[in-house]
């Protein structure tokens, strides 16, 4: 069965007006990197906070009223439900508006949407996380999820890189992860600066150097398209099969529910059928427009 066969497509329960956002309030803003901020937020409606569940890898539609809405993955872990987080790079109208907001501001949220990472399939496996730049955001949700249930998983490797030391996101997490001896971590930058004492090099090269075993392992990859393109061949060389590589595809999703049409890759709608796919599925897509 290939991805283009949609007979096993996930169905969703009918509910009211899916387009109506819930009000959420920003209660913390962290400057991660130039133009990148993380927003911590909670539902205004306390009852909803208790009821709300999601899976790592799922995303939400965020509204800044007057500026529209846009999808961002939830970068916090469902194992830490006291608040939600999303990390946003300033690139356009909506993200500019979001970056202008301060703590206490009210925005809209609807979701969660998308399939999320296949947690059940990952259990018992050795995991290799490969991320570049802000691509760490969806993986971070999964990483905390895994760390909070550490005994369910085997060996863990993280290879994370950014263009420069300043572009590394979640530095506070990186610091705590680096001290954690429950897993192996490599942080790299494309170009260092005078203070940088860590590894310098592109993510795929560092991954090749770390050389995690493909035995009982799954690699979870997210980053800019160029990084993804060069990472898959390295994983292949390390013995990972295309089913052992998972990625989450970034596409210009709009409605989040598979209707507005713009995120299609062939017959697949990234927002409705993804955004998480394994590499075999990506190769099976009708179109290479991903």
């Amino acid at each position: 069965m290939t991805i283009t066969d949609i007979s096993h497509r996930k169905m969703f329960p009918a509910r009211g007006n899916v387009y109506l956002p819930h009000m959420v309030v920003i209660n913390k803003i962290i400057d991660e990197a130039p133009d990148v901020r993380t927003f911590h937020f909670n539902f205004k409606d306390k009852a909803l906070s208790e009821k709300f569940t999601f899976e790592s890898g799922q995303f939400g539609e965020f509204s800044v009223f007057g500026h529209g809405e846009a999808p961002f993955c939830i970068s916090s872990s469902p194992t830490r439900p006291d608040h939600l987080e999303c990390t946003v790079k300033r690139t356009g109208r909506l993200t500019n508006a979001l970056h202008r907001l301060s703590v206490g501001a009210e925005i809209g949220f609807r979701g969660p949407y998308g399939n999320g990472f296949p947690l059940e399939e990952l259990k018992g496996k050795n995991l290799v996380f490969v991320a570049g730049g802000i691509g760490l955001a969806p993986l971070r949700s999964l990483i905390w999820n895994v760390l909070d249930n550490r005994e369910d998983y085997g060996k863990l490797d993280i290879v994370y890189g950014a263009r420069s030391p300043a572009d590394l996101v979640y530095k506070y997490d990186l610091a705590s992860w680096q001290k954690d001896d429950r897993f192996n971590m490599a942080v790299t930058v494309d170009r260092g600066d005078e203070k940088w004492q860590g590894t310098v090099g592109f993510v795929p090269q560092v991954l090749e150097h770390v050389a995690p075993s493909a035995q009982d392992a799954v690699a979870v990859v997210c980053g800019p398209p160029i990084m993804i393109r060069f990472t898959f061949p390295v994983l292949d060389k390390l013995g990972f099969t295309s089913e052992q590589m998972i990625t989450t595809l970034e596409k210009r999703m709009k409605c989040g529910i598979g209707k507005c049409g713009r995120c299609n890759i062939g017959n697949i709608y990234v927002c409705r059928d993804g955004p998480v796919f394994n590499y075999q599925q990506v190769m099976d897509l009708v179109s290479s427009e991903y």
């Binding site: 009918a14 210009r252 598979g258």
Partner: protein, 346 residues
């Protein structure tokens, strides 16, 4: 044609007036320069003489070019969002052509799939689609190639057929049958009326000479999918405007935007088009910046991707994209030019 009824043409206005009591009746009008469905004025049935099809397809009544999803108002305590006032009036659309009626069942599955779309579905549920059999199809029509035809009833509640002095009236759906059954203005149609309708329909079908073989178009498209030179050639004269998509009865792509001044405004949904390069533009890249990719996506969505998802071809052969295209880009010629099937990808 069992249980068919009829109404004399001079009584049609009376019938529509009767229906106006329970429904907001829409009918073809060209009062403002183009043929479109407009609130029926209570007397004019001259469309029976001039009307072939509307410029805007019937989808625009259910998925309007632009609509308010909710209003937004901001105050010290936060934002208040409010749905537009609920409209419970039924809507009866008179004169929908078979191609357009069929488009509704193709759109229904999209808006029912996964998450229900309340805006579209609410309007659909409140609507009665009264079809008008085609007796004078255009040379751009190719409905008979895509599972439709000038007398096809898919998507209709009732179908009318012009048989000269009378209109033959048939209840199609349960809703339509009920509406027809209890109506005193309608007389029982005779065998002669039915025979006449049969003949007229046959003649209309014969008038449709534009034919394409869609039997294996899905496979043939898949086979040629990666052939950039084919698509370059096919798309060369396309000017990337939105005519063929915005006015297509089955295209449903939309955009969502806010319009707000001061603390008041609304979130709106408006039709969008995959022909525009801005459609897939992301901050960092654009997977369909090339025109040939957009033309390929448009064609494949209708004849390959949609059929993979929902079995049917997402085209009703209404011919608008051929008639209204600034450069006479002709989808049937392109489908015809697809190379015969060879080794396909899946």
């Amino acid at each position: 044609m069992a249980d068919s009824k009829k109404v004399r043409k001079e009584d049609l206005a009376g019938l529509l007036t009767e229906w106006s009591r329970d429904y907001a009746v829409l009918a073809p009008s060209r009062a403002d320069g183009v043929a479109r469905m407009a609130a029926w004025d209570g007397e004019d049935i001259s469309f029976l003489d001039w009307y072939r099809n509307t410029i805007n397809p019937v989808k625009s009544l259910f998925l309007p070019p632009v609509e308010e999803m909710f209003s937004i108002s901001r105050n010290e305590r936060g934002h208040r969002i409010e749905l537009p006032p609920k409209d419970d009036t039924g809507c009866l659309v008179f004169g929908v052509r078979p191609c357009d009626a069929r488009s509704l069942i193709l759109l229904d599955v999209v808006f029912e799939d996964a998450y229900e779309d309340p805006y579209y579905l609410d309007r659909r549920r409140r609507s009665i689609v009264v079809g008008l059999c085609c007796t004078n199809p255009c040379d751009s029509c190719f409905c008979t190639s895509v599972d439709s035809g000038p007398a096809a009833t898919a998507g209709m509640d009732i179908m009318f057929t012009d048989i000269g002095d009378n209109l033959l009236v048939e209840g199609i759906s349960r809703k339509g049958k009920e509406l027809v059954a209890g109506n005193a203005t309608l007389a029982k149609a005779t065998r002669t009326d039915e025979n006449r309708a049969r003949k007229i329909r046959l003649a209309a079908e014969k008038k449709i000479t534009r034919k394409i073989d869609t039997g294996d178009s899905k496979e043939r498209l898949l086979a040629v999918f990666e052939d950039e030179s084919f698509w370059q050639q096919v798309s060369a004269k396309c000017v990337s405007c939105g005519v063929c998509t915005l006015l297509c009865p089955t295209c449903y792509c939309f955009d969502i935007n806010d319009a707000m001044t001061g603390g008041e405004g609304s979130r709106c949904r408006s039709l969008d088009s995959c022909a525009f390069s801005s459609y897939t533009k992301m901050p960092m890249e654009n997977p369909r910046a090339d025109k040939w990719r957009r033309v390929r996506n448009k064609l494949c969505h209708k004849y390959e991707f949609y059929p993979m998802l929902f079995d049917n071809i997402a085209c009703t052969g209404c011919g608008r994209c051929i008639r209204l295209c600034p450069v006479n880009w002709d989808i049937t010629q392109v489908l015809d030019s697809l190379p015969a099937k060879h080794e396909s990808k899946i």
